[in-house]
Symmetry: C2
Subunit: 144 residues, 2 copies
DNA sequence: TATTGTTATACTCTATAACTATA
DNA sequence: TATAGTTATAGAGTATAACAATA
């Protein structure tokens, strides 16, 4: 017998993950708003930190977003001085997107607040549980 | 020192959960499709299993969905013979929704396939890790 | 001929308001 | 007057197609 008969019928993994995701997004929204950002613009900044100097198409596929919708976001971020777009010297069709110093600073500030929120969200867990959770999540989510 | 200096900079919890949720939804979609269901209709059936004989409004709030959009879903599920709506004897404005035998059977069949998919998804984890993950997820997601 | 960034268009999904019948 | 279910309408979000410049 490898089954534990004492456990209640499991909930769908999808339901559990979806609910938690929803909670986290709801918790992040006011933080982002306080820093003058929305979800996808923040995702763009975070992606550019990991891979500086991406082309717009690379950026779009990296964050799983549409290249046409990305444009308005980049326009806004550019107008706010958080990113800049330069023509790619090796391919004059492409534009290379990169963080400005202001963009990096903004990202750091937002992330600090999000870290505080996350710590509160995981408050009920032990240190070992929280570490184990992060390890498992990173593994399931895949590289990057 | 309570910090582990060897760990890389953490990714946002929201990003990790969102990616995994996305993967699970993508994995569930073809399963549901094979059984002639979509995401929200399936959620409705699952919710009705937990709380039979809900009123439409209770159902909507339970699954976090809009009561107006729920109607079309209930129409479809009713036409497919998976649920039935009867007037509430104590309040003739309300309609009580419940699973039919066919609905229960469909739900069981879909869930069995989803359980197989989930087992495969967690394949890389040890038994203890998988159990620990479910426990933590259930705790974070909250009751129900 | 194919690709990058862009714009324009159509479509879907979601939110809001309004209606009916009951309470 | 308020509420459950319903319908209709408006808005946001998303997907698709087409275009100019370059490869």
């Amino acid at each position: 017998m490898t089954e534990d008969t004492a456990t209640p019928p499991d909930r769908d993994l999808g339901e559990l993950f979806a609910r938690i995701t929803q909670q986290l997004i709801a918790a992040e929204r006011p933080i982002l708003e306080r820093h003058g950002l929305q979800m996808w613009p923040y995702v763009v900044l975070a992606s550019l930190e990991r891979r500086p100097a991406s082309t717009q198409l690379q950026l779009a596929t990296q964050i799983g977003y549409d290249k046409t919708r990305l444009i308005a976001i980049l326009d806004d971020l550019g107008a706010a001085g958080l990113i800049e777009r330069r023509p790619d010297p090796t391919d004059r069709r492409a534009r290379i997107v990169s963080l400005t110093d202001a963009g990096r600073a903004r990202l750091r500030a937002v992330r600090a607040d999000i870290r505080v929120m996350e710590a509160g969200y995981l408050e009920g867990l032990s240190e070992a549980q929280a570490r184990g959770l992060r390890r498992v999540l990173a593994r399931l989510a895949g590289p990057r």
